[in-house]
Symmetry: C2
Subunit: 352 residues, 2 copies
DNA sequence: AGTATTCATGTAAACGCTTCCAAAAATTTG
DNA sequence: CAAATTTTTGGAAGCGTTTACATGAATACT
């Protein structure tokens, strides 16, 4: 093993610098009790010998790994990509490494990974879009293992989490559609087991209420955030006697699929029907017409998740709760003032 | 440190199972020299005690980390996401963990990461779209450090790499456009420092030659794979006296931007102008019109990269060269037979 | 049955570092 | 200037494994 032989250790550095390996270790760890002059000599030697501390050994001896684990469902949409960018930035600055685990939607893998990771492979865990966190939040909390949830508000658990103002975002977006003149708005929900999905639905309902628009059960299609739901839901709406003039999907992926359905029916966006999404994933701005949507600050959510995790690492007993970041409506081409249908308005009103 | 105290080690397992810790280690490592009955007893004990082997210790003692490093430029487009999916699948099956490093286009970070990682943090390295690999391929080769390059053909280096048949893909795609009747085809190149970009350009040129179509320098716009190039390049083409009837961009991102430019000029896709991309990133099928493109088997490239790396790990002296995976044309909506312009054909011919 | 071979198991010595404690050197104090 | 105090340094004892090597048990062979 060449790799083995020519590796330079703190002992080599110590010998070369004429100090004990203990001192070298102190230098590595920025211990104050080293004479500046000695420190400089050691540092110089390390540089000259091209020394890199062995992470495994440090972890083993020190009990820290300087690595955090990231559990994500997938990397397909760019949605996660944005979040990772944020996490990665913070981690890099803090000198942590990132261990990536993809569950590929297999919820069962989650718990398995978690129980392994918690066993000391990483110092902390960031879980993005956890599927059924209740399975393991218990053991993590009990073991006081540092973790943060991203984009999930629990079904009751009270733990560190980063999310965004889903309710407010949906409320504002709906309000905006109403301002454009839309009174019949079809809403496609997300997976209602997730708090985020429920909040978006509630925001939608509240906005209708505020605007004194009756809530028609037929105009709510229950989806799961999956592409197909957007398509199916939109078709359901379009086949109604009086189809909605706008469709608000609980995420961009479903909104994009809804656009397909609308086009297949020979309708134009936004002239005939407006489409609103949620998330603002990168491709939302790339499609034509580009998608008006509610922006979640994904990258920032990632950054803050990392920061919160660091804080937990430092102050394990500090109480950390859910943090909500503001959402924002991004106006693009897929929504427009209700025009063509205005003559039909009386009709619509009669209907209600 | 609670974390510390309640950790169960092989010694605990050994005591509980009534064997020496050496035997437990053998069981963990699937050593043949363990009586089946003993093995079962140890396994049972491990299960009961919820034992998880400490990775740091294993690495330190064994000299292997069971972790591979992945260096990627970014996670934005889904392009990398696909590749990672492939890598991740293989890694998971083989029991390796994934350490992710993002360079965010900062080429300087690459070399830094590499020199650290090579120092024993990971057993091998997969570099996706390396920016300037010559900086560190040298040291890796010299140290015999296992690595694989993905989607990059060197500017001379002879090392393990996974790519696709860029030349053939571009050749076939161009041929296809010609079959549709297009004779004036605008080509937007990638970053010509990358072999892949050069190959695509050469494939394009060769197809023109085969079809006896003159190669007009004005119909080649030199880009860098970046979005803006697609836009600018397309505008350049469209402002010509005799604009091309088809545009072939060296990647999907530029093709998508070219579509924007075409639309801004009030032209329709594909009726007025056909657009062809390269890569087949996930969003290519999601845009409207959907993008006809040359598919690189990204996920498969990831898988094979991992497999090759495993092979290098097993047979360090085995010679590993570049592997090329076949590309494939994906027909979608952005290309069509040359129709409307057919009456102008004589004109075009006169021009050449 | 007695010896030669396997096979199964136990044990000590790393692996490269952190951390604690004690010793040595430098500094302050009376 | 010696004693007390503080700062700096050295070295031992782990951290939880793997991996030789040694030993003991079981099996095969003559």
């Amino acid at each position: 093993m060449n790799k083995r032989r020519d590796r330079v250790t703190i002992v080599d550095v110590a010998a070369e610098a004429g100090v004990s390996f203990g001192t070298v270790s102190r230098v590595i760890n920025n211990d104050v009790h080293v004479k500046p002059q000695t420190r400089e000599r050691v540092l110089e030697t390390m540089r000259r010998l091209n020394f890199v501390a062995n992470r495994q050994a440090r972890s083993l001896a020190g009990g820290r790994t300087n690595t955090i684990g990231l559990l994500v469902p997938d990397l397909g949409t760019g949605y996660i990509g944005e979040i990772i960018r944020g996490i990665d930035t913070e981690l890099g600055d803090a000198g942590y490494d990132l261990m990536l685990y993809t569950t590929h939607r297999a919820a069962t893998k989650e718990a398995g990974y978690v129980s392994n990771l918690v066993q000391g492979m990483v110092d902390g865990l960031i879980l993005v879009l956890p599927r059924n966190p209740s399975d393991y939040i218990g053991i993590m909390t009990q073991r006081k293992f540092p973790f943060v949830l991203v984009d999930h508000q629990g079904t009751g658990e009270d733990c560190p989490a980063i999310g965004s103002t889903n309710w407010q975002g949906a409320f504002n977006a709906t309000n905006y559609l109403v301002k454009l003149g839309h009174k019949r708005i079809g809403f496609i929900t997300g997976w209602l087991d997730l708090g985020a999905a429920v909040d978006r639905l509630e925001g939608f309902k509240a906005a209708l209420r505020t605007n004194k628009i009756p809530l028609l059960p037929d105009l709510i299609y229950e989806g799961t955030f999956a592409q197909l739901d957007g398509y199916t839901g939109a078709l359901r709406f379009l086949d109604m006697k009086k189809p909605p003039t706008a469709i608000f999907a609980s995420n961009d992926v479903m909104a994009m699929a809804a656009m397909d359905a609308v086009r297949e029916k020979g309708l134009r966006i936004p002239e005939d029907i407006s489409i609103m999404g949620f998330d603002d994933i990168p491709q939302a701005s790339l499609m034509r017409p580009s998608l008006t949507t509610v922006r979640q600050p994904l990258e920032q959510m990632g950054r803050i998740a990392a920061q919160v995790l660091f804080d937990i690492l430092k102050n394990p007993d500090h109480k950390h709760n859910r943090i909500e970041l503001p959402t924002e409506i991004i106006l693009r081409e897929s929504t427009a003032t209700l025009r063509k249908l205005q003559e039909e308005e009386p009709d619509l009103i009669r209907f209600h």
